[in-house]
């Protein structure tokens, strides 16, 4: 029978903590950029310009039909070139940068779908009222529709954030040392992969379970 030996975990905690910071960095960047970019995409899709609506729809559908693993690998391939084209020389850690860009652009497609549904959930009368009060369409969207839409969407956005937090572990495919990558490396180094994998699973579970309970409470209290 297998004999567990958890002794390599305490010493590795600082390293694992560093990994967790990378995980959080990727998650938070993707949430912020994803929501902003996703909102723009959603607005473009619902807007009057058919070209923009088509482009936005194409973007969202493309990203939503390709596996995240492939998206990460794609950006690892093109980000060095992109960065060079945009900033010239000089970003050393292409893995982190690639991951940040990949997750932000990928999540935007998913967020945009949530936000689009949120915008559509705001009664049409609100838009009419805004326009009647003399707001421009853009003002109506910004001041009247979006604030209400976001209030309705909070639980869904947070649930998506939890999924995203879990998905960041996939940066493993480009060898970035996030929390999971670090756990794997420590396990490999000390020959205690079994223990480190179980530990990583437990930590993810604790964080995600706690977060999902919070979301559930928000939901049942009715944030509206």
């Amino acid at each position: 029978m297998y004999e567990f030996d958890w002794s390599s975990i305490p010493g590795a905690l600082p390293l694992l903590g560093k990994g967790l910071l990378v995980t959080l960095e990727v998650t938070l960047t993707a949430i912020v950029v994803g929501i902003v970019w996703g909102t723009l995409l959603a607005v473009a899709r619902l807007g009057a310009n058919p070209l923009l609506a088509g482009l936005a729809a194409g973007y969202v559908n493309l990203f939503r039909s390709v596996p995240l693993v492939m998206v990460i690998l794609w950006f690892y391939l093109i980000v060095p070139q992109l960065l060079k084209a945009v900033f010239g020389e000089g970003i050393a850690d292409i893995r982190l940068t690639s991951a940040l860009v990949a997750f932000a652009l990928f999540e935007a497609a998913y967020y945009s779908e949530i936000i689009r549904a949120g915008i559509q959930s705001v009664p049409r009368g609100q838009v009419a009222a805004g326009l009647a009060l003399g707001f421009t369409p853009a003002q109506t969207m910004r001041l009247i529709v979006l604030p209400q839409a976001f209030r309705n969407m909070v639980p869904l956005l947070l649930t998506q954030a939890i999924i995203l937090f879990q998905d960041t572990s996939l940066v493993y495919v480009i060898g970035l040392s996030d929390f999971f990558g670090t756990a794997y490396k420590v396990g490999d180094r000390d020959g205690r992969l079994v223990e480190l994998l179980l530990f990583a699973g437990a930590v993810y579970f604790a964080i995600c379970f706690a977060a999902s309970q919070v979301v559930r409470r928000l939901q049942s209290r009715g944030v509206q």
Binding site: L40, A44, G47, Q81, V86
Partner: protein
């Protein structure tokens, strides 16, 4: 609509980025780039013991890495640069060639075999090492040579010459092996150690390196007739003779001056991190010949 405009511009930038052919940098000679940017990007490995790997403080060390730093020193002197900032970029067997090709990495000294096929994509410096591809197995596994592998699980690292050799052997001789391709040497060894494969095919020096990392190094042996003799070289971009000349000269100088042999003694004949194990691999005749007459010839 402003946001829409922004969206369109980001999208088009993205598409443009996709359309920009990789390796726009190829046009400018590497030397010019080094001078202008004052920095060089070096590719290194993460677990190619003892050539290029992380010690337990995540510092890059190893035989090839030390030679690469010698080259950097020489470049700095040659270009009369007050400062040449070194940027380190970890590469894997699978992505090292494309990273050199597309200009992300300027120079990669690790454990890359110089062969004709790769010469179509990248240039190789003067060779820095000579290996044979062999097998590592558990002492009591009963595996003595490649013929014993028929019908068994064998692991090798993805993107290496060993991977091609063993898959080809499997097809040609109908050996019915199950070839597992692991992501890196560490994962290959893990596959061997956990009993998923009976043997690990790789460059002999790397096999000894993995052994040095094992929990019980005494459990393992390296066996089998070498399936190929291969020369390691540093990779650099193709069609940049000016840069290659300087790199070659620096390496040749290290070899003929005896410096390279000292570095060899340090990594192959003395205790090395992470476990303080001695690989005990005496200098081979092939390597002695190379040190005497440095050249960039591939063996195939």
């Amino acid at each position: 609509m402003k946001p829409a405009l922004f969206a369109a511009s980001v999208l088009s930038a993205l598409l443009a980025g996709l359309a920009v052919p990789p390796a726009a940098a190829q046009e400018a000679a590497t030397l010019k780039k080094l001078k202008e940017s004052g920095s060089i990007t070096l590719g290194h490995r993460e677990s190619s013991i003892p050539f290029s790997y992380y010690d337990d403080r995540q510092q890059v060390i190893g035989y090839s890495h030390e030679l690469m730093l010698k080259v950097v020193d020489a470049l700095k002197a040659e270009l009369k640069l007050a400062k040449l900032e070194v940027r380190l970029m970890p590469v894997t067997s699978a992505n090292r060639i494309s990273l050199v090709q597309n200009g992300t990495v300027d120079l990669e000294c690790g454990s890359t075999t110089n062969n004709l096929e790769r010469q179509r994509q990248v240039a190789f410096s003067t060779s820095i090492f000579v290996i044979g591809t062999r097998l590592m197995t558990r002492k009591d596994s009963g595996i003595r040579d490649f013929a014993d592998l028929a019908g068994k699980n064998v692991v090798t690292t993805a993107g290496t010459t060993s991977e091609r050799l063993i898959r080809k052997m499997n097809e040609d001789r109908q050996m019915k092996m199950n070839v597992i391709s692991a992501k890196d040497h560490g994962e290959s060894f893990l596959t061997l150690e956990t009993g998923r494969a009976v043997a690990f095919m790789m460059d002999d020096a790397l096999l000894f390196g993995e052994m040095a990392k094992a929990r019980k190094p005494g459990d393992w042996v390296v066996v089998g007739t070498p399936q190929s003799k291969e020369a390691y070289g540093c990779m650099l971009r193709k069609d940049d003779p000016g840069f290659k000349k300087l790199v070659d000269a620096a390496l040749a100088k290290a070899m003929t001056s005896g410096e390279a042999e000292k570095i060899y003694q340090k990594w192959f004949m003395s205790p090395i991190p992470p476990k303080g194990l001695n690989l005990n691999m005496p200098l081979s005749d092939d390597l002695k010949t190379l040190f005497k007459a440095p050249n960039d010839k591939a063996f195939d």
